[in-house]
Amino acid sequence: MTQDGYHISAEEATEALRSRNAGVFQKIYAAYSEELFLLAYRWVKDNDLAKEVVQSLFAHLWEKGQQIEITGNVRHYLYRSVTNRSINELKRRSRNVSEEALQWQADNASLHEITDHLLLQKEIIRLAQGLAPRCREIFLLSRFEGMEPAEIAERLGITVNTVYFQLAVALKYLRNHLLDGKKLQ
C-alpha cells in the first residue's frame, strides 16, 4: 500500500542540498514532513517536541547541505535521521526513551512496515475530515485523544450506545474509503 506522490533519488536530493535548490527542498518538505512528524510523535509522544524535531532536521539539512550525502532511499534516510534526533532530544531532556525506539533497527523490513503504518495514519487523518461533524468529533476523542467510550458519552452528554454507533460509522467509512476500496495489508 506504499503510495507517495513524490519520488526523488538520493543523488537528486543530495544535489539539491548542495546547490541550495529551494524549490526541490520545498518539495521534499511537502512530501515527507507530515509522516516524519507522525514518526517523531511515535517516539517522543509530544506534539510540540515532535514538530521541533522535524523542523530542526530540515533546518539542519538546509544549513549543512554542503556536507551531507544522502544514500539509499531518501524516505528511509529521513526516517533514520528523525528517529535519531527524537532519541537524542529525549535523552537531552532526561525523558524516558521507550524500549521500542531503542530497539527499532532501521533494517529494510522495519522501514517498509513503518512506512505503511505512517501512510495509513496520514490517510486516516485526511479521511477523518470527511466524516460528519459529530461522528468525527467522537472518533477523534476516542482515537487521537485516547478517551474511553464511557468518558466520551459523559463529556458529550450522549449515551454510550451512540458513541459505539458513531465509532462504527467512522470505522466503516474509513475502511470503505481507504485506497478506494482496495484491501488493506
Binding site: 541550495r20 529551494a22 524549490g23 520545498q26 518538505y29 511537502a30 514532513s33 507530515e34 512528524f37 507522525l38 510523535y41 511515535r42 506534539n47 515532535a50 514538530k51 522535524v54 523542523q55 530540515f58 533546518a59 538546509w62 544549513e63 503504518h117 495509513l120 495514519q121 486516516i124 487523518i125 475530515q129 470527511g130 460528519a132 461533524p133 459529530r134 468525527r136 468529533e137 472518533f139 477523534l140 482515537r143 487521537f144 485523544e145 485516547g146 474511553e148 467510550p149 450522549i158 451512540t162 459505539y164 454507533f165 465509532l167 462504527a168 460509522v169 470505522l171 466503516k172 474509513l174 475502511r175 481507504l178 484491501k183 488493506l184 495489508q185
Partner: protein, 304 residues
Amino acid sequence: MNNNDITGFIIDCLTDPGNRDKQAALNKWLEESEENQHLYAELKQLWIAAAAIPPMPFNVDEGWQELSEQMAPAARVKRMSPWKIVAAAAVLLFLAAGGWWWQTSGDDWITYATPTGDIDSITLPDSSMIHMKAGTVLAYRKLFKEREVKLLQGEAYFDVVKDPQRQFLVTADKSTVKVLGTAFNVRIESTFTEVIVFEGKISLHSGGKKLVLSSGSGNLATVSRNDDEIRHPIGNYSNQCAWATNDLVFENEEAENVASVLAAHYHLSEVKVVENLRHKRITLRLHNTPQDEALEIFAAVLDQ
C-alpha cells in the same frame, strides 16, 4: 448481525479486551469464515493505527513557512527573486488547502477556514465547540485567556462551556454576542447578521443597543447591516440549528411543516404526508436520528 452491528461488536471487543464473554463470542464469530477474519484484521489495523495519531494536526504549509523564515537569510545571498516566488506559492498553498490553522503574524489571533463543501467543527482551548458550515472563516485568540471569537464569514454554531469567571464574546460584523455558557448560531448574510439561541441565554449588542435573547420562543434576532437595527420576530427557530445539533424539535406543529423541515434536514426532495393528515398537529423530538428511523417515527406519530 448486519454490517453496522458487526463493526460495533468488534469495537466493543477491542475496547474491552479483558471481557472473556466478548472475546469468546468474537472467537466464535472469527471461526465462522475467513471473510470474518479479514474484516476483523482490517478494522483492528485501522483502530490501532488511529490510536497513535497525535491530537493536533501537523500543518505542512505553516511548517514550511516557519522553516523558510529561518532559511531566508542564507538563501538571499544567492537568489533573491526565486525566494519571493516560493513565499508567494506557500501563501497560496495554505489558502487553497483550507481547513487548517494558521496564525496571523505578530498577533494573538488564529484564523480558521473550513475546507470547501462540508460542515466542519473545531474545539477551542476552553473545550467550547464551534460547528461551521462550508465557506466559513473565523478567528480566535490563540491562548484563549480572553474567550473571543470573530466570525468573519459564513455561519457557525457555538456550544460554549460554562465559565462564570470569563465571558465568551463572538463578534460578527457590527454585532457582538456576550455569553457565559450556552449554545447559539450566528450567520452573516450580505444585508444582516442573524443570531439564534439554542440553549441558555445571550446578550446581543449592536450600535449601542442591547437585547437579551433566550432559548425557546423568541430565540432569533437579526441585525441589519444598514442601520444596526435589531429585529426580534416571534417564534422558535431552534430547528435552524439542526445542521449542527442534529436535534429537531416540533411542538404542536402542522404535519406539513414538519415534513418540509425533515426533507430539508435530510436533503430529500420531499417527505410525503397523506392529504387528510396535512394539518394534523404533532409533537416530536428527534436527536441524532438516522434518516430512515426519523421517517419511521414521523409516520408512526402521524399514524399514516
